[in-house]
Amino acid sequence: MTMVLNHPGIADADHNADALKRQGSRERRVLASLTLPGAILIFLVLILPIGWLFWLSFFGPSGEPTLENYTRMLKPIYVRTFISTFEVAGLVTLVCVLLGYPVAYLLSQLSERTAGLLMIFVVLPFWTSVLVRTYAWLVLLQRTGLVNTWLIDAGVISTPLPLVHNMLGTVIGMVHVMLPFLILPLYASMRAIDSVYMRAAANCGATPSQAFRQVFLPMSLPGLAAGVALVFVLCLGFFVTPALLGGGRVAMWAMQIANNISVYGNWGAASALGVVLLVVTGIILYVFKRLFRVDSFEGVR
């Protein structure tokens, strides 16, 4: 004790506090500088270009300032694209929920080991390139594809069904891509539900379906909401699968943006569409985060 009291540093505590403060701000500078290389890249490749697109969205083809790029979006052709994009996104999300919820539920009820093994069915598609899977669906669904060949050989149909290059093919392909995005967060949140609650509900006299509806379902909602928001938002901006399986019959937002640039070279129109897409995406994620207390959309992969 006496040693501490005799320590010369105690005499000027203010001096020490200053040193600590300097040390603290130096620490903050060091830590900030570590994030710099990545942050600079993100600025160059993401933030700067989007800022530029935002700026361009207020100019017409010959460089005159205008709001035309935004007012144009009220025209029927654009409105149709928005409607069909939301239709496709909504339908794909709905099918994903109907197929994904039972899968996540059953997996969450099995032992960690069995579930981990069965998870391969969900994770292998996840690790397989979207392009490869889209190609596989084309091989399966086209006029001379496997499904039609089998159905004809089995005598179920006599002429090939139009399964692809239309809305149906697009939805099938997109559901295949999106399903893991729904199952994975949902499974994680269902795993976290303690089975004690279900036993307690049964003990209190609830029938199995009552226990499920009143106990399990509400507790799984935040995980479901995270998956739904993610899938819906990814669908809104999805390009590859609709472009290949839609056969030009399914107008999607992202394709409209791409066409505005590669076909018409109209940067203003493409930018405005992009800005609105970004805003809509942000709003949806924010609303879901607030409404369902979704902690984060991280860690899906």
Binding site: V30, P37, G38, V45, L46, Q109, W127, L131
Partner: protein, 271 residues
Amino acid sequence: MLHRPATETQITHFQRLWLYMLVALVFAFLIIPCLIVIPMSFSGSKYLEFPPRSWSLQWYEAYLGSSEWRAATFVSLRAALLTTIFATTFGTLAAYGISRAYGAASSLARGVFMLPMLVPLILVAIGCFLVYAKIGLNGTTTGLVMAHTVLALPFVVIAVLSGLASYDMNQERVAQSLGASRPWAFLTVTLPQIRLSVMSGALFAFVTSFDEVVIALFISGGQNATLTRLMFANIRDQIDPTVAAISSLLIGLSIILLVGSHLLRGREDRK
């Protein structure tokens, strides 16, 4: 067996047979498109068949014999390797900074590094195309690697942050108090202990770049066209069975990567 209770609420296996069947169907739906292309790619006839009536390696020969496909494969591999190096380095540094900092600065940085995951890809693609046109980066490996590195950063940051969360930072302070400089303490004490997280981040980075289509469609081209760009054009315009051979090879690659990531995660859990 079937009449034994399966849940806490005493539902029997028999009563939820429908659930097992539904889940089996969904699994089939998920897995069949991933696997069916493989046997078909060995078809000996002029068209793709299942099951193939005769077997051959003709589509693999067509792939390996085409200088265009070979060049594109090389471009994609090179971009993916470079992306892995940059994204893993920058992402690990950033995750370290974010995990040590606290308060508003830390959550702001975290938000910035998650952005690439949330912005629609098509927007990143046209934005890069626009900016790169002004600075001459369209059609270059540099431009492609920059864009792919940004896309991969969130995955690396998430992986490394989760590794750092279960690491006791005091060990690094001990090393520093024993005279190690800070970078040296990080390299010799911290990094070896979070290496599995860093490696799984690197794996994500590789896949993100190698499989990326939309950005590559806009900014890669000519000599530097990626494999995905070539495949996309090929699938859209004509269905060349060569793509079946390439797809099978890619599926093989994803199975290897999946097993790799599983092993990494398994070792992480055991720690």
